[in-house]
């Protein structure tokens, strides 16, 4: 009897071990908060990154975001100078701070974080600078400056996931024109679905029959523009490009 119980306990331990390994392997990288890269700064620090957006006419524009971190009371501010600021951009600044806290495994309530956005646009809005703001916050906390020639577009979740945004082709073109050589984009967005409209008319049984068709052609953004476009799904994947 005891032998049987012993065997059962043994099997349970083996099953538990296998399950644990499987769950561990399958956990999204971004929520494996085991980085423990605590790097508290002395007084203040800042990091500057390029950000990509679109203007009112849908053209890509490149601006900058400076993340300033200093000892304080836990406030997060979003400064856009003369431009107007939209709610979703401000919300993504908060997400960026949460994602940075999660990645660094720190509590930033003893620090004030200020995002200064400079872009040639009358309205600064949208979530696509979220990933850049999160990376800027991490680099500022780590007292590091961002590598040159790299930019990222992507929305950011509190857990560090980078999620899709719009107008990637236009942003990539603006990035290339601004001298950026590596452009990081959310997963699945290095390919642009180019939709073409075509009209063709023929005579059929005495009728003039015209067909209008919308066809989708996948275009590799990097290849078509001549810029290194890399897909990233989380801050962990994106950060090495800026270090």
């Amino acid at each position: 009897m005891k032998k049987k119980e012993g065997k059962a306990v043994y099997y349970m331990l083996v099953v538990g071990l296998v399950l644990g390994i499987l769950i561990g392997i399958n956990l999204p990288q971004s929520i494996q908060v085991v980085q423990n890269t605590k790097t508290y700064i002395e007084n203040s620090s800042s990091a500057e990154l390029p950000i990509a957006g679109v203007d009112n006419e849908g053209n890509g524009v490149i601006g900058t975001v400076v993340v300033e971190v200093k000892k304080g009371t836990g406030t997060v501010s979003f400064d856009v100078g003369e431009s107007l600021k939209g709610l979703s951009a401000q919300a993504s600044a908060l997400n960026a701070v949460n994602a940075a806290e999660s990645y660094l495994n720190i509590d930033s309530s003893d620090y004030d974080i200020n995002f200064v956005v400079k872009a040639n646009a009358s309205l600064i809005d949208g979530p696509s600078a979220g990933a850049a703001m999160a990376i800027g916050t991490i680099l500022a906390f780590q007292n590091k400056s961002a590598a040159e020639g790299v930019a990222i577009t992507g929305s950011i979740e509190d857990n560090g996931q980078i999620t899709p945004v719009g107008s990637v082709m236009e942003k990539a073109l603006a990035a290339k024109n601004a001298g950026i050589t590596t452009f990081l984009v959310p997963e699945g967005e290095s390919i642009n679905a180019d939709i073409q409209r075509a009209k063709e008319c023929n005579k059929v049984n005495g009728f003039r029959v015209c067909r209008i068709r919308y066809t989708t052609e996948d275009v590799n953004i990097g290849e078509s523009l001549g810029i290194n476009v890399v897909e990233v799904s989380s801050i962990m994947e994106a950060l090495p490009y800026f270090e």
Partner: protein
């Protein structure tokens, strides 16, 4: 004698001309019947365009919440659509007007240009996304245009045209309901 001959000749020519005119008139009517003349109302004098329906079955449409479905026999093809599209289909099916929605505008334009919708059809699915076509006729012109299934449905409930689903799409993506 000479004068009499001349008078008979004139009568003969008049009758001959009238006869030719009558024959030409009849021929004109027959020809016009074969190749109709536009009278301002589509379909009244023009033959109705008959698309090739091989491999298609006529479907009944239904909308429930945001779920749009097409049923042919015992198979149902259903798809989730946006709330505004679902509202437009339901409003169109009920003949209920709120403000002119885009599909109401489409109906007004098609109606008042003397055109008709011959049929709507779902004919292919690419990457799991169903594609539809709307076939319109105006006089002897036919327009076969790409559409989202929900736009095709919203227009079809307003225009009262039949809707067809490709058997291939139905067999691949439809579910058995009876």
């Amino acid at each position: 004698m000479k004068a009499r001959k001349t008078s008979q000749g004139v009568g003969f020519y008049i009758i001959a001309i009238l006869l030719v005119a009558v024959i030409a008139f009849s021929a004109g009517i027959i020809v016009s019947g074969l190749k109709p003349v536009y009278s301002g109302e589509a379909g009244t004098n023009y033959a109705v365009f008959q698309p090739d329906r091989t491999g298609y079955s006529e479907a009944k449409m239904a909308i429930s919440g945001n779920n749009l479905s097409f049923t042919t026999g015992c198979r149902e093809l259903s798809m989730l659509i946006t709330e505004d599209q679902a509202f437009s289909i339901a409003a169109g099916a009920a003949g209920h007007y709120v403000r002119p929605l885009p599909h109401d505008l489409m109906q007004d334009m098609i109606d008042n240009m003397g055109a008709t919708v011959v049929e709507g059809r779902i004919d292919e699915s690419i990457d799991g996304i169903h594609r539809a076509k709307i076939i319109l006729q105006w006089k002897d012109n036919v327009l076969d245009v790409d559409s989202r299934p929900s736009d095709m449905a919203a227009l079809s409930v307003r225009m009262g045209n039949p809707v067809y689903v490709s058997n291939e799409v139905m067999n691949a993506y439809g579910s058995r309901v009876c």
